[in-house]
């Protein structure tokens, strides 16, 4: 129960008392025959008061006051309950709003963190891709150079081997086909061209 309820109850009791006093004062002078002495009036008033405010009336008043008090208490309880519900509801709303706001802030921070991490990851991936691309280009160049060198070596080797093969083939092919008599002029010409060296060696050899 709040202060307003108490004030209301006390105010009601005071108003009821004032009404009874006022009623007693109005009934007093109009009900007597002529002027009476003051003690008589006072006694009469006391009797009337006692007559009006007897036990039943007082019990009735108490019952009414109790009922009124209960009613006021019930109303205030209802108000209090409403206030409490309203407060609870507001509190829930507030809590919900706060939680939502906090969650949104946290989510924003989380999203920002994720975005930062994503950006970092993308940067890192970009750098890695760039490095890999550079490495790939370097390896490609190196591989191409080595491939060209290897190719040149193979071609040179092939050409040389091919020359040997052809020579071998020619020797094998014509080896038994050329008559020595046909070679006489060639051999004599070769001997003639080496004559000086042969003579020199034979003279010094013997």
């Amino acid at each position: 129960m709040n202060t307003g309820g108490l004030i209301l109850i006390i105010g009601s009791l005071g108003a009821a008392t004032a009404a009874f006093v006022w009623l007693a004062l109005r009934l007093g002078p109009s009900g007597g025959k002529g002027k009476l002495p003051s003690e008589t009036i006072e006694n009469a008033a006391n009797k009337d008061v006692e007559h009006i405010f007897n036990d039943e009336f007082r019990e009735e008043l108490r019952n009414r006051g109790r009922l009124h008090f209960e009613k006021i208490i019930g109303e205030n309880a209802m108000f209090l309950q409403q206030d409490l519900r309203q407060t609870t509801s507001q509190l829930n709303e507030y809590m919900r709003a706060e939680i939502t706001r906090t969650l949104q802030e946290e989510f924003k921070k989380y999203e920002q963190s994720i975005a930062d991490a994503k950006k970092l990851a993308l940067d890192s991936i970009d750098k890695t891709i760039t490095t890999i691309e550079q490495q790939r280009q370097f390896l490609q160049t190196q591989l191409q150079t080595q491939s060209e060198a290897q190719k040149a070596r193979i071609v040179a080797s092939f050409e040389k081997e091919m020359a040997s093969i052809i020579n071998h083939y020619v020797l094998r092919a014509i080896g038994n086909q050329i008559d020595l008599s046909d070679q006489l002029d060639y051999i004599l010409a070769e001997l003639e061209s080496n004559k000086t060296a042969i003579v020199e060696d034979i003279k010094h050899g013997t």
């Binding site: 020579n167 020797l171 080896g175 038994n176 008599s181 004559k195 042969i198 010094h204």
Partner: protein, 161 residues
Amino acid sequence: MELKLPLAVVSQVDIARLIRELNSLEDFFTSAQLRPAGGSMAPPRLTRTLDGLARTNQLNLLDKPQRLKLATALDQLLKTAPLVHISFASEPAPRFLNEILNWFRTNVHPQTLLQVGLQPTIAAGCVVRTANKVFDLSLRTYLRQQEAYLVKLIAGAAHGG
């Protein structure tokens, strides 16, 4: 005495054969002197080579001093005659060999002896080996020397040149 060698005498083997033949002739005449007179004896037949050698050098083989002279000259020849090894891809014909020998005796030394060998791998030409040098006059060596040119030709063909 410097012997004039006929072209039939080619190698040291021929000289050795001539020496053996001369020795057997000498043995015959020695045994003929020891035999009693009136007995029949068959003289050894001279080879055409020994006969040609005697004719070339105008020597009478019935005369002992001249036989001894020839034998001494042949022994000396065997020791001092320049020897040339010459190899061919196949067995040379005697006429062909005579041409070669004639060239050596005309241009190098009149008592040159040849030792003929076979090297089928040279295909054509010959390989001459003297005391200190080898003269490879073969087609095999010629082709090897021309290998750079052949490689150049192959490279040109391979590159579409």
